[in-house]
């Protein structure tokens, strides 16, 4: 770890004022950043601790939720409204990491944890374009069991590790951002980037931009939602494939369907092709299979992760079936 200065902010303006340029980073729970700093992969010379920002969860007049950036993952998953109305979000958070890590991790930090793979961590022994642009990617041609099957590029095939973000993608969450040039609202689905030829940049945020809150739109009570994560062990492991789904069936027809996929891409993947096939169609297994097939038709797996295509297809169908049967 290289030396750095440390300060605390209690509000957004205070945090943004302390951003001294590209070498300052905001610090949430530290569970990703401190670990990467120890490996000299992240090298900020100043940290601004933003765990003193809002940790409140408030209902909006139209029945949505505003979640402060400093809300801890455990607190969000334990909130009565989240448990009752947004089970997909509650279950996604609880499927991630360990209880210890969820107690530390903040909403802002979870969203902005690095898209990464184990070669990215292995600074001493592996080439990685995300660490050093142009150096090459040892995952391609290496051990790529955990890597992307959708939206990858020849420069990087890493996946975004967040479970929470997969649910936020399906829920059409909006991320509230503030920075030197003012505030803006970004759909979570527009926040993370695909790697293209710049895998070193994970999101569209500027270095000074701070996440202040996440807004969940009002959510129809008629919809059912859940999250299913498939992994190599039944707890405390990253997703091979995960599915966040929201389904509303009326008289045998699909009134609304929204699907997020995890473990398959450089960003939380919104399955819009599948959704287009589902909406208005019959809530049958055949329709679910057609939808999953349409989304995965674009998959470009490698030898090690070709299994993910079939695994994702089956998991999407199984989750939709579950949601239909509990309507």
């Amino acid at each position: 770890m290289i030396p750095f200065s440390y300060s605390r902010a209690t509000d957004a303006n205070g945090a943004i004022e302390q951003v001294a340029g590209n070498h300052t980073k905001y610090l949430g729970g530290g569970t990703n950043l401190v670990d990467l700093m120890r490996e000299n992969i992240e090298r900020p010379t100043a940290l601004v601790d933003v765990t003193g920002l809002s940790n409140e969860i408030t209902e909006t007049p139209d029945g949505g939720l505003i979640i402060g950036a400093a809300v801890r993952n455990t607190a969000l998953a334990s909130h009565p409204i989240v448990r009752a109305r947004y089970p997909v979000l509650c279950r996604a958070i609880l499927a991630g990491a360990s209880a210890q890590i969820r107690n530390m991790a903040t909403v802002g930090g979870n969203i902005l944890q690095r898209t990464r793979c184990s070669y990215f961590y292995d600074a001493a022994g592996s080439n990685c374009n995300k660490r050093t642009l142009g150096e090459g990617c040892d995952a391609i041609g290496g051990f790529a069991r955990y890597h992307a099957i959708l939206g990858a590029s020849p420069s990087c095939i890493a996946t975004h590790p967040s479970d929470m973000c997969v649910a936020l993608a399906a829920l059409d969450a909006v991320v509230l951002v503030d920075g030197i040039h003012g505030e803006r609202r970004l759909a979570l689905n527009d926040l993370h980037r695909l790697p293209g030829d710049r895998p070193d940049v994970d999101t569209v945020l500027e270095p000074d931009e701070l996440i202040t809150a996440v807004e969940l739109p009002q959510f129809s009570l008629a919809s059912r939602s859940t999250y299913r994560k498939v992994r190599d062990r039944s707890s405390y492991a990253f997703a091979l494939v995960s599915v966040a789904a929201i389904l509303n069936v009326k008289d045998g027809l699909i009134a609304d369907a929204r699907i997020g996929l995890g473990g398959v891409a450089h960003k939380p993947w919104r399955a819009r092709k599948a959704e287009a096939i589902l909406r208005g169609g019959p809530a049958t297994i055949a329709q679910f299979e057609a939808a999953a097939g349409a989304e995965l038709a674009d998959a470009q797996p490698l030898q090690d992760n070709v299994f993910k295509v079939e695994l994702a297809r089956r998991t999407i169908v199984a989750v939709l079936e579950d949601l239909r049967d509990t309507q």
């Binding site: 770890m1 290289i2 030396p3 750095f4 200065s5 440390y6 001294a20 340029g21 590209n22 070498h23 610090l27 729970g29 530290g30 569970t31 401190v34 670990d35 700093m37 120890r38 000299n40 090298r43 010379t45 100043a46 940290l47 601790d49 765990t51 455990t74 998953a77 334990s78 009565p80 448990r83 009752a84 089970p87 509650c90 279950r91 609880l94 499927a95 990491a97 360990s98 209880a99 210890q100 890590i101 107690n103 530390m104 050093t132 642009l133 980037r193 293209g196 710049r198 070193d200 940049v201 569209v204 945020l205 500027e206 270095p207 707890s235 405390y236």
Partner: protein, 211 residues
């Protein structure tokens, strides 16, 4: 479409940081000069309470809570297994919540209350969970045990506080104390000796769970 000033800046930044890498490796063990900003403070005063005693410390900002406990306060009960959040050996309880002391900086703990294995109980005055680990043989080499015990104490509190877990079937009813709940909640603590089933027995005993 996705070009932003960030993309431009980071291209330049990349060159700066690779130069810094070279400089840093050249220093090897000595004091490392700060590349940007001159009046940067790299040590901080911090005070927090550990096992009931207040400690005022001046620490290098880089010191993790784990290293502060072990190297500075000589509370070596808390163990360093992986130093990456993967094993749980460093689990301590801060303001009532368990966390991995290796993933958090000591300076972030200002004003907080930290409980380590030494604070739970001592020989002759054991915490019920420590006694239950002995009774049920909840360890072999003992390296993971301080973390396991801190986690175990917190698990019972989390279930009591109605915090749900991955295996909670009904999210809107009170969480029940079951073996499945305990097992899932303990997944952040790895035991290379495989004492898992005896650890569950110890927690069940203290929690008053019917076998």
């Amino acid at each position: 479409m996705q070009t932003s000033t960030h993309l431009e800046i980071s291209r330049r930044d990349l060159l700066i940081s690779s130069a810094a890498t070279v400089a840093v490796t050249g220093v090897a063990g000595g004091a490392i000069a700060q590349s940007a900003g001159n009046d940067m403070v790299q040590t901080s005063k911090v005070s927090f309470i550990v096992n009931g005693d207040i400690h005022n410390m001046k620490l290098d900002n880089r010191t993790t809570l784990l290293d502060a406990l072990r190297e500075h306060l000589h509370l070596t009960g808390t163990k360093k297994g992986c130093d990456h959040g993967q094993c749980g050996a460093c689990t301590v309880i801060v303001d009532g919540r368990r966390l991995n002391a290796c993933l958090t900086l000591a300076i972030m703990q200002e004003g907080r209350r930290v409980t380590t294995i030494e604070g739970l109980g001592k020989p002759g005055d054991l915490h019920p969970m420590q006694a239950a680990f002995i009774k049920h043989d909840g360890f072999q080499c003992g390296y993971c045990t301080p973390g396991q015990i801190c986690s175990s104490v917190a698990v019972l509190e989390e279930i009591g506080a109605n915090i749900p877990s991955h295996v909670t079937a009904d999210l809107t009813s009170p969480v029940a104390l079951t073996a499945a709940e305990v097992r899932e909640r303990m997944s952040g603590n790895i035991c290379r000796c495989g004492a898992y089933s005896n650890i569950i027995d110890a927690i069940s005993d203290v929690g008053g769970m019917k076998a």
